[in-house]
Symmetry: C2
Subunit: 376 residues, 2 copies
């Protein structure tokens, strides 16, 4: 993997760059739609490619390991072939899901034992096994196995958790670097910076990961309940330490406002279930603000969903029709909302990139934050 | 509406024709995807147009009347504009839904009173009101309001029910012919032939409807539990009486086999929820047979869903991937299966039409029936 920094905003830390992987290029800042089990919920791959213009999608190691499982993925020739997605893929390490979804989880120095949330079967994730699993999945970018402590963890817990995450990182790097990709294209490993809401821990973590000199670094354990201002502080601390010539990935973030503010702080990559999950519940993000399409006020509004929106659903379907689909519980409603929201998120980061390169990012960002966060 | 008979098979009653409406042409025999509340479940309109190549879709009067309701539909300028579908639409009369879905239904000479299955509100459908409702919906082809008796109705019930349906038809025609379309394009009314499984009633009904000399005729009340052979007998009786220069629509039918056999008996139009409903449950209809994609045998089958299938999903996605989506309860599974099944149904009637025009329909049909009805 290669990263080229193409431009930096003079009035903020915002950056525009280009990542090159064996499955193609990624223009940063970028938003990565979440394809939990090898499917971005409700969205066909053709729409992801041609309409939403996704450049990279996420897979969840925890989910893929349980279903379809490693045998199927290996026989298929990896997740790209299995899911017929020929652009870059990033997989998380499963750490977050083990701690949020699985039952009977138990943490030891060795790893995390847990029971499947699907059938109760017992499993053990170790830094080594998670590297091996991600080799089988075959993502272009794989993530280190970490502990993601709760948002309200106290300092002692956070510090001990970071100790563990750092020991695990060491084992992840060793295992990853001593194994080969299975499918003939290269993979790269991003460490994850933890440390909860404690600046000194975040600082220590950001310094620690650099000794491995990887192709990129992720900031994890944020957007888990802490105030947005605290999240931004942590991002600022970390990005002040991370090298400028490597991409920075803020995991699981966030609202359009969160993304714009974090781009201004020098973040290059984002993922979040919000555009699809909230979309499935009828929340639309637009360049003019947030719409709850189930609201009665849209019942007779025959204007397009988003007259300025980038995808075909925005201009083809009206607010009244989309509201009707949600009220009548038609699955087409969530489908349209998901395409719209993902299209908007990808448009938003593309616009941010353009303004960074053109030199007027900060003014645009400040104006945009006001618009995207208001309720229509 | 205009119907041109373009060719008749010499060895069967199969016909190829062309219907012209103000919203475009329909090549018969045709299958009409069901868009209950103005949405073909799980399928975007662009896919219906470009991939499935649907020429006409159905709307359900009962559902559309309850949601979004007539006010919204009228303000939108009719269902075509509301649902952004610019090709022909046919609406059923709501009779079938009142008797199968609604609560507390009560039948009188005047009409059918019922309570909404959604909110329990009280409503009355009369032949006159159902014509007025379909004027507001604005379908190109509207259906007469009828009673659809249960499949096991005895002769007395069936006869009394047909008496009622025939009196209602008279009122439907009077009301329809004394009202005007709302939106500037023409609409036409199809009578429905009832009579359960009793040949003499079917015969009487088929003769009765002709006195109104409409643009087309429908056969209702079949595929409601009776054996397929009995259904075919009834279709044969009715089609032996109906005029050759008008299209014949067999309502709510059926499997690919049912459709092929009924085409051979001279039916021109079909609708059925089967491709979408069964698709959502993982049943795929293909030119080689029926697939239950949830079956474990597909777990490691990385061949295309349907190598001979007409839509992009057939070649892009593998059986193993589609199975995985169903097992993991991803909504993309039902979406892909619905597109596949509808694409197959439309391909099937298109092929039937081609073989009718080329003169080798019967041999092709007999071969095809064997294939499409076997389990893979």
């Amino acid at each position: 993997m290669e990263f080229k920094l193409l431009g930096t905003d003079l009035q903020s830390q915002a950056r525009a760059g280009l990542i090159t992987t064996d499955h193609g290029q990624i223009e940063t800042p970028i938003f990565m739609p979440v394809g939990t089990v090898g499917s971005v919920k409700g969205v066909l791959h053709r729409e992801l490619e041609n309409d939403i213009k996704a450049q990279i999608i996420l897979g969840n190691t925890y989910h893929l390991y349980l279903r379809p499982g490693l045998d199927v993925l290996k026989q298929a020739g990896g997740l790209h072939k299995f899911a017929s997605w020929n652009r870059p893929i990033l997989t998380d390490s499963g750490g977050y899901q083990v701690f949020s979804l699985a039952d009977m989880r138990k943490l030891t120095a060795q790893g995390a034992s847990f029971r499947s949330h699907i059938d109760g079967s017992a499993h053990l994730f170790t830094p080594e096994s998670v590297m091996d699993i991600q080799r089988v999945i075959g993502a272009d970018i794989v993530m280190a196995f970490d502990e993601c402590p709760p948002g309200d963890a106290d300092y002692d817990y956070a510090k001990k958790s970071l100790d563990l995450t750092e020991r695990w990182l060491d084992r992840c790097v060793q295992r990853f670097d001593s194994t080969e990709p299975h499918y003939g294209y290269s993979q790269t490993l991003f460490p994850i910076i933890q440390g909860c809401v404690y600046s000194d821990l975040r600082k220590r973590a950001a310094e620690n990961v650099q000794k491995y000199n990887r192709d990129g670094y992720a900031i994890g354990g944020l957007s888990v309940g802490e105030p947005a201002e605290v999240m931004y502080q942590m991002v600022e601390v970390v990005n002040g330490i991370l090298p400028k010539d490597k991409p920075r990935y803020l995991m699981g973030v966030g609202t359009p406002e969160n993304i714009l503010e974090s781009i201004a702080l020098g973040v290059d990559m984002f993922d979040c279930v919000m555009p699809t999950r909230n979309g499935r519940n009828g929340m639309l993000f637009t360049s003019e603000g947030i719409i709850n399409i189930r609201n009665k006020k849209w019942q007779n509004d025959f204007s397009p969903i988003d007259p300025f929106g980038p995808t075909f659903v925005d201009s083809r379907y009206t607010k009244a029709y989309l509201r009707h689909l949600f009220i009548a519980k038609e699955m087409l409603g969530p489908q349209i909302a998901s395409i719209h929201n993902l299209g908007f998120y990808l448009w938003l980061v593309k616009e941010a990139r353009r303004h960074i390169l053109e030199g007027d990012f900060l003014a645009w960002k400040n104006e945009m934050v006001k618009k995207v966060s208001r309720r229509l």
